[in-house]
Symmetry: C2
Amino acid sequence: MAIIECVPNVSEGRRPEVVDALVDAVRRTPGVRLLDYSSDASHNRSVITMAGDAAGLRNAVLALFEAALPRLDLRSHTGEHPRIGAVDVVPFVPIEGAGMADCVALARETAAEVAERFEVPVYLYEEAATRPSRTNLEDIRRGQFEGLTAKMADPEWTPDFGPSHPHPSAGASVIGARMPLIAYNINLATDRLDVAKKIAAAVRYSSGGFRYVKAMGVTLADRGIVQVSINVTNYEKTPLFRVFEAVRREAARYGVSVLESEIVGLVPAAALVHTAEHFLQLTSFTPDQILEHKLRNA
Amino acid sequence: MAIIECVPNVSEGRRPEVVDALVDAVRRTPGVRLLDYSSDASHNRSVITMAGDAAGLRNAVLALFEAALPRLDLRSHTGEHPRIGAVDVVPFVPIEGAGMADCVALARETAAEVAERFEVPVYLYEEAATRPSRTNLEDIRRGQFEGLTAKMADPEWTPDFGPSHPHPSAGASVIGARMPLIAYNINLATDRLDVAKKIAAAVRYSSGGFRYVKAMGVTLADRGIVQVSINVTNYEKTPLFRVFEAVRREAARYGVSVLESEIVGLVPAAALVHTAEHFLQLTSFTPDQILEHKLRNA
């Protein structure tokens, strides 16, 4: 059976009873499994992780809008994290037996239904984007909820579905399809923040590095070390091992060693298998050789 | 649900209709999935790979004995591979949700039932062995079917279950529990067989190397290179990455590079995950962080 992941970000992270109501809407939807959820009070934002088939996920997202709209009002929302809507961002992520094309189709279908049923304007983003200027979430969200009426008056920002003005309380939503994101940090055996920042600049896309890498250098004050904090947005095209090796070599150039690395949250098994293949110089290896894989497909 | 693997080796690899009958006995057993089987004519031997729960596997092994006994006669059996019985060796292997203790219990229970129902003497081996001298399959099988009557007259070789003399046509069987075995070859960018042999000697247990490694150096004549051909018998205690790194360093000492490595057949996912953890210097990583793992357990 095809499995797709969906990770809605909603603009509520302070009222537990409201977060519970939103999570319950997902939990009650047949064909969907709630995997995780977490709230951040300073961001005033929650992230819900679920998985299921296309029909189940579409229903769960609609149920989430239905639960969110009467409870959230962006006109009185404050928080550190940028946002333009109540159900701010909804990415669909291909996991097993489903490809990116399936996720793009699901994003479009869900976006159309959200716009029709709730009169919330929707932008399609990332792999589902209808034009290059809408690929990046940051570009769509620039100006935030407060700037949305003015932004949407510009024909360049006519939404992909729904009215050309914000929903009064729920703003607009961004729905799309993307690869699984891997949050990957590499800790350096030094307290020199300048080294972490230089390495981050060397490996990240925005300053000339790997296409699917976002990175910044930060200090871990309690440990007296620095960290290159990384997001890998497409591990098939920019694999973990390549990022690790590049960071290691850049660090060596400053006489610094890699202390350790860490994966924050979830990682697709394939990202680790590719890493093992690389370092063991494995030849002609196929996923069918993984015992558990074979067992599940038997 | 607990999943255990079972890999019976039977002394028939030349008559396809007999192999089919044996495989069918497994295939028809509820609670068991047939994963693979292959026959070798020169060895006159077949290997059947199946997986399931304890009850299903016990029934499948009994069905296999029932199908094999009227069809196989060791008195007229020839083949290059050492053997003492019709159903020669039956290892149970822990895969998921079942530990070694479960496999040892299953081996004992199955052995007792085989001895009682078929009057075939059974030796317990590896993790199920009742004394250290019976840990290694090679020691139990030394003398082969032809030497079995004399061997079993020695009190040291009284079987763990069943009569103290061989079954007339089916000999004896060896049943036990072991870790998954990984067939792992490392190809060197040289045609110097002496280098492959020296490296094999350096890493294998029998000559002072890693405890769970068997290895030999061989020539791949058609490719003009040599190979260190390895069996890792416990990848948790002697991990793949450690064997790979040791071979790489030993090769460098002779000015030789590793060309590539290959896994033959199946490998547990954990062996690859451990490899990725090692080379990425991952800290505090848990299997729960693997997306597919999380999905299955949700």
